[in-house]
Amino acid sequence: MEKQLKVSAIKDGTVLDHIPSDQVFRVIDILGLDNIPNQITFGINLESKLLGKKGIIKISDRYFESADINRIALVAPMAKINIIHDFEVVEKRVLNVPGTINGIVKCMNPICITNHQPVETLFTTLDSQPNVRLLCHYCEKITDKDNLKIISNRR
């Protein structure tokens, strides 16, 4: 059977595969993809053996530092990162939750300074597997997976 690509192939760049469908726009936001001039194609609700439905994002002529790309691990822990050169996958990367996370996550403590003043959040990752636990640099309280809220990346 002919395997057909639902999202057209790119010549050079980065493919972010196996993103949960409902997290595609968050990934775009976290990586600031809506603010770059590169050609971007994406698909949502594609069939996936792994996730049931998945999302995929392809960014032409753009490569990411591990520290940057790892920022999406919080919303798309199963994502596969493929580096493409001349239509070939030349490198596959897996994601790791970074040791420190700035921005992206909201502190779950309602009386934390970061929820009342324009202060960027900053967390130390206490646990990343199986459940994320983040320690707030400011209020020293823990935000866990069940209370993880993503905030926009715009500064």
Binding site: C107, I111, I113, T114, H116, Q117, Y138, E140, K141
Partner: protein, 303 residues
């Protein structure tokens, strides 16, 4: 030494001991106007008379001038000025800032935007490190050492920030703890994990008499009514966790009772005249420890 005092865990064991040593010097002679010409800002975004007076006494005994406010009510803060802007302004005027603020993490943030040292005088229920330092000073002074002490901590172990900070600070000195509280106010899992990680022995009990005769220190805390959804539960707990003189007949001679004050009825007034009562002296020690903290942050670590 660190540039600021925001959380007790910013200070190492040695830095804690150095601060306590300096406090002892100030206690010998509290009138030390070594900071004439310096200005200390005391900015209290929520009122706390006890803490503010202690800090301002310390600043005055050091010869510094004090500026500031005791309540955010009449300041530009109520007009919506951000904490950052307030701190930027105040750090232009003062050589050191003492700050109390209801939002947790506010002191850490202030230290990051301030050009002068910041002392956290309480940020919500998070940290109150100068209280912890005076607790340590009181323990050292009454026991002659900090190492290998048996410490009972009683009352609100769940929300009590003084309890959590004291546990963190004492972890440098191999204590053994007995935690006494009702189930609703039990020490949170994260602190039990912390103690286990640091190989510190502890046991937990609901019985106020547990370990009283072996304790070197009994640290009492206030049980607050608002922690209970059912007022009847509060009444029950309040009456059970009240220390009185008859409980102290077989305790160790050196045993002292501490309480961060104000108390409600955790300690019966019949204890006040006992040689074991130390809570009123404890408050006085706050001035010396705050003098030491201010001095060290302004660069004077020896007298």
């Amino acid at each position: 030494m660190p540039k600021h005092l925001i959380s007790i865990h910013d200070y190492s064991r040695e830095e804690i001991l150095d601060t306590l040593k300096l406090a002892k010097e100030f206690e010998k002679n509290p009138s030390r106007p070594i900071f004439k010409g310096k200005v200390i800002a005391s900015i209290f975004f929520e009122p706390s008379t006890r803490t503010r007076l202690s800090f301002e006494t310390a600043a005055n005994r050091l010869g510094a001038r004090v500026i500031g406010f005791s309540d955010a009510g009449n300041t530009s803060v109520t007009k919506g000025e951000s904490l950052k802007d307030t701190i930027k302004m105040v750090s232009n005027y003062a050589d050191l800032i003492v700050m109390r603020h209801p939002l947790e993490g506010s002191a850490r943030y202030a230290s990051e935007v301030s050009s002068v040292p910041v002392i956290n005088a309480g940020d919500g229920a998070n940290q109150h490190p100068t209280q912890t330092m005076l607790d340590l000073y009181s323990i050292l002074k009454t026991q002659g050492k900090l190492e290998n002490l048996k410490i009972n901590i009683v009352g609100d172990l769940k929300y009590g920030r003084t309890v959590h900070s004291l546990i963190q600070a004492m972890s440098h000195f191999s204590p053994s703890f007995t935690f006494i509280s009702p189930d609703e106010l039990r020490l949170p899992q994260e602190y039990r994990d912390f103690l286990t990680t640091h190989s510190i022995t502890f046991n937990e009990s609901k019985n106020l008499n547990q370990g009283v005769n072996e304790a070197d220190i009994i640290y009492m805390t206030r049980v607050q009514k608002e922690r209970f959804s059912d007022p009847i539960d509060y009444e029950r707990v309040k009456n059970v966790y009240s220390l009185n003189r008859s409980m102290l007949t077989s305790c160790k001679e050196n045993m002292k009772i501490l309480h961060p004050l104000p108390r409600v009825n955790e300690i019966d007034t019949d204890v006040d005249n006992s040689e074991h009562a130390y809570y009123f002296n404890q408050a006085e020690n706050g001035v010396y420890t705050r003098m030491a903290i201010i001095s060290a942050l302004l660069g004077v670590t020896e007298l």
